[in-house]
Symmetry: C2
Subunit: 626 residues, 2 copies
């Protein structure tokens, strides 16, 4: 959109004050028109945003994809009326859209911001995520792009009790993210009453300083203080993130609600809204833009560079763990300058260390902070990179809220979870991923991969680099024989039929370690004269329904599925969902999964105790074919 | 077990030093014998544990269920060799068991501690959970039991980067948990190299102090300093938790590994172990016990008291939200003194506030810290209480690692997730739980309930109070008509057939809001001359396979399932899993679920856009019966 002629730039503080009132008025008007929303949470931060928009945010409003643009993330996503009012003030959203579309069906002005809007980087609304996401964006800017942009984040005070905020501040200071500026809107009131720390700015300040950020405490309604803090935050010559700690009043500017309880998340009734607009000085329609982006370093940004990826190759029969193949394939992908890796302090177990060793400049150690691990990946995705984040699959559960939000953020992130299932053995159930397939399958638009051997693992890691959305690869601790030649293809959404004969009586389906158990069971059954088809279901989502239905049809609907996972939501569910989703199905299914509480032991002891070893598979098949 | 005669009590520090060496020797011996484990992570904390066991832990080793016993939680669960060596030193685990059972199949001495051992409160091994769990135990001790016990927690330095640790410290100071004492074993080395803060005790100290705890920094290998710190920590007259910040050396006591990298999680090879035992002064077999528990306040502990619970009743047709029924039923349960409630700062949305209002002394506000919310519930469960923890269902994803670990901890906790699905409307996808059923079903031994109306919701909340394991109830934002009389029974694992005729051609299955859509679809189909059976699947796990298979048989296998959830792992999966798990199945299933990315809108607009409204259900049924 070309800038309209009435745009004001080079704004003085008095005009910024007018702008702040406009933002409040529009926050009230838009939420009242929608019949829902959070006007009071918007009003407390209006002065911060007015000064930011007018004087400090370096943004090319005509080109939201200008790589040098500052970033603005509302970690307190419920203040969407304020954010959208800022967009109106910048001249990119019309007053009409604000008043007729906010929170309505089909609108891009959703209840909480999402990247349906080109000026929004990430979806927020689950508190405590915007700041961690911003750490990822700032890491990209400082270390990979050497870009001039700053990342401005508006946080609520209620979300300061989320551990993820402290993971973010810790990493922001560890990585010296001087380009990260968080503004905490300390309006004292949460959803149901006062916050834990109320207006105790001193405690906030001590905590934030101890976590390594520079704190500037201000009166968030004093425009000169806001302006000075932002100027100071923008100054170079320091190596820490900055936190502007702003004491504010919820609903500021309208005496009937200001600093009063029971006004969270409630639009003002129409007549009250009219009184608010009057008290706030009436409607305004200023269009205001601040400074343009600073000149770029000119460094090339995230791009695959058409680099040729030479994947590792393995010999059939060679024993190698899929987790090791993950690391080797990831390292091979490193020739692509858009590939970035990070890990939760277990890179010597996930084998992400192979990438770290070869491309230390594109590897980010996130230590044991899985929420920040995923958020960093989301942040890198915002800047067009292709992040791979790894940890033990069990510990990805720590970050499920972040994983769930990633597709709402339209992020493209790649996850690797190692040490799947009871197969890990002696470490016991705390380290065994037994819910990860269910968790990842349920994520919108996700891809879930579970290779059995090193060849397929390497091929799937390479495929992940170009997948959209959230993709996940589950790897195994132990070393198992390579099954496939290195030129075998593994399309996402495919499956491999490893054993197949015209007279097959039963289909055995496995993935990962259970595929080997299925193969051994097929051998055992063969000796009994029972011919079994064996399927390697390396792609769990999307799933190869054609191969499954063909196998079911060929074997009289007799199917045994074995998985190193709890019975719900994993491989067995995926198979049954696919078979019953494909039309009328006649099925006799035996679903072998981890139904007991495992303890310690060797991998094979535990596979057997869980009832998912070859002998159990063979027994189930015999019962079906009896 | 009666105390053997050779037990030493009233131990001096020199004997404690001998004990520390014994703990090191036994940590080396046990892990070497097992061929896996974490000896070096045990050796760094051996002095802390020796002094604690000998002089400060008030514990009745003959009766681990003595309600006045101190609690000892290894948040760094991988130091299990040390913990089990402590149990040997206390005379409750034999040297033989330690040497032959550790990490072996079927043993209670698992790779990471679980309550299979009577002296272990909670399972650990996913770092950053032990301290939050301990906060729950300490809350119970201070506020509900007024018990003399202290809760001692051994934390690793690597886990200090987990946000959950800071949620725990924040709540520990907010609730003035002077009975909580955390010992941080700052041994500088994590799994793959130095920790983020190395031996920067000053930064740790600043952070912990800022979060409100009293910090005592010591040399963790100086027994006198350790002893003084623990004595000071035990002193009354303060109202803060204490953190003993102990500078230690990983592998301390054996020069070949001490403070060296690449020795994490590795047992010493046998010959090296022999050299270690020699350097550590040889094997010892001291049996040592410290002080007995202090006298109890005599307050009655968690007990249902046989109180009569009078549930709220509703009139058929009355419109009321299930989330409101949750709050009212929970408040009714409050007559039971063992029922405790907590919420993540949204009690006015989940309606947990109804309990908070009536029983403020048994309600704990956890603010926006979902990990600590669940951990507190686990801690209350340790002490025999029956905790109910609530927040928006979407935000329970934040705590999935804690929920996953709860059954390993043998905890009995009750979760309520409100605001399920797209039904919530204008707030948009960040607030919509669309993965929660998949997530909760996959938890070992879980119960998953999803009532449609207020009567069933209230009955199920009451049933949850007496369930074992992790139970979950999903509630809905909007108000819908009451369907059932107040004397209707809702057994867990049951289902209700709301429409049934001999000539039924198709079965419609819903739960929560989609049940109303199924009923409307049945009306619509009836007008077309199609008779539909309608099932209220209020219990998703366990599931009423008999009712489902009977319905499938009666309606030619034609089934439409509609759910306000993503397609994977929820209601539809549960139905198909049950039907295919019950023997040979002939099925024609249409599974309606939220397959698109929702935005904002009204609930009914979004149900329709997701394809789960009555008209879509009727269309699917027509197609099946065509």
């Amino acid at each position: 959109m070309a800038a309209p002629t009435a745009i004001k730039t080079d704004i003085d503080l008095s005009t910024a004050g007018e702008l702040a009132q406009q933002l409040r008025v529009d926050s009230v008007r838009s939420s009242t028109s929608a019949g829902s929303g959070h006007p009071t949470s918007s009003m407390s931060a209006a002065d911060l945003l007015a000064v930011l928009l007018a004087r400090h945010l370096h943004y090319d409003w005509d080109n939201p994809s200008n790589p040098d643009n500052d970033h603005l993330i509302f970690s307190k996503g419920h203040a969407s009326p304020l954010l959208y009012s800022v967009f109106k003030a910048a001249g990119v959203v019309s007053d009409e859209e604000l008043m007729t579309a906010y929170r309505r069906f089909g609108s891009r002005l959703e209840g909480h911001p999402t990247p349906e809007l080109p000026w929004v980087d990430v979806a927020t609304g689950s508190l405590g995520q915007g700041l961690p996401d911003a750490v990822g964006v700032a890491l990209a800017g400082k270390y990979l792009e050497e870009a001039p942009y700053r990342v401005w984040v508006l946080c609520g005070d209620s979300e300061m009790t989320e551990g993820s905020i402290w993971e973010a501040l810790d990493k922001a200071s560890y990585y010296k993210l001087s380009n990260l500026i968080a503004m905490i809107d300390v309006n004292r009131l949460g959803q149901r009453g006062p916050t834990e720390l109320s207006w105790d700015l001193d405690t906030y300040s001590k905590r934030i300083s101890a976590f390594g950020a520079r704190v500037i405490a201000i009166d968030g309604h004093n425009l000169a203080e806001v302006d000075r803090a932002m100027r100071e935050a923008r100054e170079d010559g320091h190596d820490r993130p900055t936190v502007i700690l702003a004491r504010t009043r919820k609903g500021h500017g309208f005496s009937e609600v200001e600093d009063k309880e029971n006004w969270h998340g409630k639009p003002l009734p129409r007549e009250m809204a009219e009184r608010a607009v009057i008290e706030l000085g009436g409607e305004r329609h200023l269009t205001v833009r601040g400074p343009r982006p600073e000149a770029s370093s000119g460094l090339p940004r995230a791009a695959a560079d058409g680099a040729h990826v030479k994947l590792p190759t393995y010999s059939v029969g060679e024993k190698i763990a899929t987790r090791k193949a993950y690391g080797q394939a990831l390292a091979a992908l490193g020739v692509r300058r858009d590939v970035v890796a990070m890990d939760g302090e277990v890179s010597n177990s996930t084998y992400a260390e192979q990438f770290a060793h070869e491309y230390p400049e594109r590897y980010f150690e996130m230590y044991i902070a899985e929420q920040q691990l995923i958020a960093a990946a989301v942040g890198f995705s915002v800047r067009g990179f292709r992040p791979f984040a790894s940890t033990f699959a069990a510990f990805l559960t720590r970050a499920y809220d972040f994983i769930r939000m990633a597709p709402i953020s339209r992020a493209n992130i790649r996850l690797c979870g190692s040490h799947a299932g009871v197969e890990i053995g002696a470490d016991g159930p705390s380290q065994m991923a037994l819910e990860d397939l269910a968790m990842l399958r349920a994520v919108h638009g996700s891809t879930v991969l579970y290779p059995s051997d090193a060849t397929s693992a390497a091929a799937l890691v390479a495929a992940m680099a170009d997948l959209e959305g959230v993709s996940y690869i589950r790897t195994t601790r132990g070393a198992y024989p390579v099954l496939y030649d290195s030129d075998e293809q593994f399309p996402v959404g495919g499956a491999k039929v490893l054993r197949s004969n015209p007279g097959d009586q039963v289909t055995l389906i496995g993935a990962g370690v259970t595929l080997y158990e299925c193969l051994a069971a097929a051998d055992e059954l063969q000796r009994d004269g029972i011919s079994a088809r064996v399927i390697d279901l390396y792609s769990i989502k999307p799933i190869d329904a054609d191969t499954l239905t063909a196998a079911a049809a060929a074997t009289g609907g007799r199917i045994v599925v074995a998985e190193d996972h709890h019975p719900e939501g994993g491989l067995g569910s995926a198979v049954v969902d696919a078979l019953t989703g494909a039309g009328r199905a006649e099925l006799s299914v035996r679903h072998l999964a981890v139904r007991n509480m495992p303890g310690s032991g060797t991998g094979s002891e535990l596979l057997d105790a869980a009832g998912i070893s070859a002998s159990h598979i063979a027994t189930a098949a015999r019962e079906l074919t009896r």
